[in-house]
Assembly symmetry: D2
Homo-oligomer: 321 residues x 4
Amino acid sequence: MKKMNIAVLTSGGDAPGMNAAIRAVARTGIFYGLKIMGVKKGYEGLINGEIFEMSLSSVADIIHRGGTILQTARSKEFTTREGREKALSMMKIFGIQGLVVIGGDGSFRGARDLSGMGAHVIGIPGTIDNDIPFCDYTIGFDTAVNTVVEAIGRIRDTTSSHNRANIIEVMGRNSGDISLYAGLAGGAESIIIPEVDASVEDVCKRIMHGRNRGKLHSIIILAEGVGGAFEMAKAIEEKISVETRVTILGHVQRGGSPTAFDRILASRLGAKAVELLMEGQTSKMVGQYQNEIKDFDFDKVLASKKEFSSEIYSLARILSI
Amino acid sequence: MKKMNIAVLTSGGDAPGMNAAIRAVARTGIFYGLKIMGVKKGYEGLINGEIFEMSLSSVADIIHRGGTILQTARSKEFTTREGREKALSMMKIFGIQGLVVIGGDGSFRGARDLSGMGAHVIGIPGTIDNDIPFCDYTIGFDTAVNTVVEAIGRIRDTTSSHNRANIIEVMGRNSGDISLYAGLAGGAESIIIPEVDASVEDVCKRIMHGRNRGKLHSIIILAEGVGGAFEMAKAIEEKISVETRVTILGHVQRGGSPTAFDRILASRLGAKAVELLMEGQTSKMVGQYQNEIKDFDFDKVLASKKEFSSEIYSLARILSI
Amino acid sequence: MKKMNIAVLTSGGDAPGMNAAIRAVARTGIFYGLKIMGVKKGYEGLINGEIFEMSLSSVADIIHRGGTILQTARSKEFTTREGREKALSMMKIFGIQGLVVIGGDGSFRGARDLSGMGAHVIGIPGTIDNDIPFCDYTIGFDTAVNTVVEAIGRIRDTTSSHNRANIIEVMGRNSGDISLYAGLAGGAESIIIPEVDASVEDVCKRIMHGRNRGKLHSIIILAEGVGGAFEMAKAIEEKISVETRVTILGHVQRGGSPTAFDRILASRLGAKAVELLMEGQTSKMVGQYQNEIKDFDFDKVLASKKEFSSEIYSLARILSI
Amino acid sequence: MKKMNIAVLTSGGDAPGMNAAIRAVARTGIFYGLKIMGVKKGYEGLINGEIFEMSLSSVADIIHRGGTILQTARSKEFTTREGREKALSMMKIFGIQGLVVIGGDGSFRGARDLSGMGAHVIGIPGTIDNDIPFCDYTIGFDTAVNTVVEAIGRIRDTTSSHNRANIIEVMGRNSGDISLYAGLAGGAESIIIPEVDASVEDVCKRIMHGRNRGKLHSIIILAEGVGGAFEMAKAIEEKISVETRVTILGHVQRGGSPTAFDRILASRLGAKAVELLMEGQTSKMVGQYQNEIKDFDFDKVLASKKEFSSEIYSLARILSI
């Protein structure tokens, strides 16, 4: 195991649990006698040298906080060869021998490129979208799902009082996982996601079916990536004359104190990332896969696609009849 | 104190704590040996005779539930003389000698009209809007404010990570109270409400002021009644180049388990309403005013306007500098 | 209005919302152009000179945090004349012309003594116990009540599954207010508080009464000041053979993010305290009384006793039948 | 796939998510055209014939509720051969051809015995203790861990304000998993569990270590199975003069609305149990193992012991330095 200087950054959209991962990187590193540095504002801050040394206290009282103390940003400059060379040069200036990147697939692409230029980089999947292959769950997903489930619960109260339908638009551009898991856990009547074709007729049929057996609420979860919440509401009102309201949950889903699950996942992955760097590894993602902490080449990860769980989709349909 | 048959209904928009009020009406009535009836779907259900006798168990395990087990609806028919006469006739058929109406000012107007036609009616202020005079707080307001404050907390996490501004649109057509209280409690940088003129320039100045002293977040609370969240976001981005996101909280604010405050308020008002009816009173609202449970003539309530608290507005501005 | 240097400290048991009060003192003072100092560890820190100047940023991002950033301690030395003279001398050294003390009645006694020696001192009622006269509510009480209500909800789930009785011991040595309000809001079957005599026989009768009408849970709230939770459980099991479990909530009740209510109350009282000092006032408590922000002489406050609300006690008994 | 009549019961200690499992059994069964029956009060109710047919509506609006609508009880009679024969006979009377048992290892032992006598029985691991082998997690564990983590957060607020140590006793007679996971996620300074020897000296060393680097809180998580919280508090105070408080969380940990994770796990396992019975299988447990839904013979499950995660234990120690 090699003594080395390690830096950590967060990149892309923030996710609850990123702070727990930062804490784990810092404390594990310090435990092994390493020097740990924090990079502010993702790759942008790496290019600009917004880098500071971290102590045990730098990460005190952050495990329960949403967001990321290192902030995050998208960097156009880093997508260019020149930008990445500046970043590499800045890593040398600060004596950074290993880099931990916490983010999603876009961030991993940058991390792989940096690896290809000689840097030692390990990625940690931190995104609420759960769209990374070879991960049971990404950091932040469990918290986001619970946030949506709580919102469904609140809306169910009021929608039952008025006997209305309610469309809730949930985050997820390409991945319907937040919608799918929250819809199942929240007992939503319909779940509309990019992965599965759906028709307004089917939604209407499920609403009427529920009404006919005395249900007071009809909740439709709609992934952001499908879109058209207001149009769908109008279509439902026209077809079956059921008053239909729309809620756009928006960035509420990104924040909040991380769940225990996300804190533990983030802690384990952060520690593992440091150990991999100390073993001399690079261009890999650490992930919890089949309930074990493992590592996978960025090449493999970036060439694959997270599989959609049709079992859970079918189950959600069966259980909300 | 007169033995009598009392019915209870909820009307207008639902609010957390309405169930606690229904429970208090039912159990207090039964305690005094009265017959208590529940009316479904507000005045509409009264006209249609959707009326059932309540026992102690009808209201078991509802004190903590959002929404209203009696459901609520708006009734066009009840706004007509004929509709109200049908309602009165139905009250006679069911032997209803006193009626408790839980709702907002629109519901009280209907209740006063019914009183004018000879019915004994007492109103309980149940609305998240806090727009009823002679009430410190309406039932549901405290819960709604806490829901918004929690959402502000979540958004602050993510907005700090990205150094963005965030506009949160909050319920309140005519009243800015939810915005005002939640904005103060959530530490929002700007609060824009129907009661006070505001300019985009002032909002921008406050954002820049905060940035200049190192603040990572700028949260703007915007009451629904003012509107124009997306336009304001665009204006901010144009004027000061700060990325600005919009969240529309929507009906999430109406639901959720009521806070202790709302449950206690609702319990006290429900019990008081029954006692007033037993004393032979009518056409009155019960309210917690200056921290005491009191009653006020509907005429007085409906002729007044809830005063806006400019002290709290100024305080919120001072404390978020 | 006088320009002056103001210090703020927290004393006695901590309460959620104390940070919001500190923030309000600091920001209001700075808004008026005053110099504001924070004193660590209550009177002990005042004696020892643990005093630092506060800026706008000293109180950034604390409005939502439980506990007190200034910490609190009990000081034996301050109860002596010598101790208080040291404190006074330290105030002169640091140029402190006005002092804000956030705490309970013990802290106010110290504050009055200090006033008597020439210091300008204003008190803010910060204690979860709600045992201060001339206050509708003390800072922290609303949060503590909601914490207990949430715990009651959780215990109700499990106690219903097993058809058991459950005794929950709640904070409050001399005051039963947390028990009373949480018991009413949580729908507890019995509430046992220092202010009212209660017998095990009455508790047993209410349990049997509930069982006979099909209730699955019996929750007994017991104020710490009454004590004897385990003995009572044994007595219930002996008398009516109902399995009875005990939960001691303990310090969980002191923590947690303050509710909107506590944050707003604390903000208003903090601002008012600064204004009173600027007006040259001393030896007074600020409080929300009859829903208005007012001030009262320490002498009057300390000579009075918070009145017990027998109305709420009776109501809780009626509603849990 | 065989058409059949299936009954479901919950047994042993209740756990959040049991209702979601009951709902999944009922709705999956009805979806496949089966007759589904609910058994009240576990094996006791099976013996006594407390059995009723379930419809889609029997399980409406329960997915989010803690506890179990079927109630649970421990049955002495069922531990005898005679008791089990009565149960078997009652199953025949009601035409029950398959039985789903939701509970822990004690319940599975009974289920295996019943299988041995000819009944078709499938078990679902429902217990907050996470002490069942061949399960990544048992139903209820995730919720219980989050409940403890929230309590740790609250206690951290107040313990920081007073610079105290705090011992929190957490459920778990034989298994330290709740303590371990909650301790890691809550950032506890020490975690004392049945699986690992610990000394008061080590706890004291960690407290002093934290203090010396400026930490304001020291939280010690102690599993119920180790016991001796009050003795440990006394020992700490004697050895290092740090004021130490004790909290016994108790049955609060069993209740509460289940997390999304527990609801999804319970839903998937409930559906799988029905499918296994339809395939003619018996004497098996369904579990999520290595993140997949699988089944295992009761014999294998009951002959094994859940492995303790020494990786997580070590990690918790490293991260709380």
